[in-house]
């Protein structure tokens, strides 16, 4: 579903990604872990071109993101993204946050979009908040709305960029639970996170990144129980 080949990205002189190659299959949940500054968020943001790679190739369902003829807006419609800081639209109500893109971008009729939005809000347990503004929600609630907003576009893959890092500890679970449900339903997911419990339990594959490279990847139990690489071992010993 997603193919990445020899991806390089620099910010000025700083080389953040030094040749990433991998593939993500349909229905797979890939969890990316690694120390801060390892390039994991940058890698994720390259997958919907929020960052433009300097070289390499990304293909989503066979379509090249690096090809100048590709309509990136079209591709992004199928790639949902959830951000660390939620990035809800503060001037729109919860339901407007969710219906805006389907109506304006996909051209769904407003009534249908409303119904679908309510369905999604039910699913993330926030149907009662439809008419509220984001400022009145807790962090966990904001993030659940953000997930619903991304899902409203019926994406084929969901990217999560440290979705629980900005949350108070007691709110992390409610967001992770939503993500678990999503994984159980077969959604293709790429998740950058520090939640090792989630990685172990939900991940089909764990990818350890350090200094702009994929150091090691494999099934969660392999990475967590029998890490092969010295750097992986060091990282895991620090956080587990």
């Amino acid at each position: 579903m997603i193919e990445v080949r020899d991806l390089h990205k620099s910010f000025g002189k700083l080389e953040v990604l030094k040749g990433i190659s991998t593939r993500i299959d349909k229905g797979e949940v890939v969890v990316i872990i690694g120390p801060s500054g390892s390039g994991k968020s940058t890698f994720l943001r390259c997958l919907n071109l929020l960052e433009r790679p300097n070289r390499g190739e990304i293909k989503i369902e066979g379509k090249s993101l690096m090809d100048p003829c590709t309509d990136i807006n079209k591709i992004r419609q199928d790639v949902g993204m959830v951000f660390q800081h939620f990035n809800l639209f503060p001037h729109k109500t919860v339901i407007e946050n969710i219906t805006l893109a389907p109506v304006k971008v996909r051209g769904v009729n407003p009534k249908e979009a409303q119904e679908r939005a309510m369905e999604l809000l039910n699913r993330v347990g926030l149907a009662g908040k439809a008419g509220c503004y984001p400022s009145s929600l807790s962090g966990g609630q904001k993030q659940r709305v953000a997930i619903a907003r991304a899902l409203a576009m019926n994406p084929k893959v969901m990217l999560f960029d440290e979705p629980t890092s900005a949350l108070d500890p007691e709110m992390i679970k409610e967001v992770l639970d939503v993500m678990k449900d999503l994984a159980a339903e077969g959604m293709t997911m790429v998740v950058v996170t520090h939640e090792m419990g989630f990685a172990r339990e939900v991940g089909d594959r764990v990818m350890f990144m350090d200094e702009g490279m994929i150091v090691e990847e494999g099934r969660p139990e392999e990475i967590f129980e029998r890490p092969q690489n010295q750097r992986t071992r060091e990282f895991l010993s620090k956080i587990l």
């Binding site: 992004r76 419609q77 949902g80 951000f83 503060p90 893109a101 971008v105 503004y133 576009m153």
Partner: protein, 220 residues
Amino acid sequence: MTNLDFTIVLPYINLFFRGALTAVEITLLAVLIGIFIGTFVGMGKMSRVLILKLICSTYVEIIRGTPLLVQLLIFYFGLPQILGFTIPEFPAAVLALGINSGGYVAEIVRGGILAVDRGQMEAARSLGMSHAQAMRYIILPQAFKKMIPPLGNEFVTLLKNSSLATTIGFQELTRAAQIVAGSTYRPFEPYITAAAFYLIMTLGFSWILGVLERRLAAGD
């Protein structure tokens, strides 16, 4: 002090009211033109198209780097020499003030857009919106909220600057004071009256603006 007599302006008070009304008219129209120009120029200054950026920056620099009075004189007295026809006082004043205001509003617009969190654009784009859609539905509405206080200042400044239209012989509030001063031979009272009119208008407007700001802040 003993010879002060404000009753002398009373026979002319309608002149002051008409002048005040005209000042508000000029200002409102000029601000509308200013916002229209400023929105495009402000966004133009942030454009990635170099030539557009250059044109818009130059416009802002010229407007902000030259006195409004001179701009007004160029518009009313200078342009007819080139155009071959005169622009009547009212449109000349409105256009000159509006074009001037556009330069300042451009900076206000730019500041407002830059003040919107970068994540908003990213979130909008990640949902598949084009840059233009993201601007229209997400960035500009939020930027506009942030622009209201400085736009209010701009309105107050423009209201006061409308007094410069006197120099092209336009009948507004300051001109009314001049006329009364001329016909009564008492300049102090009419000019103080004019000043009081300006003050009441600017204070009143600032109050309305404060209410508006609180209303909008409630939505956040």
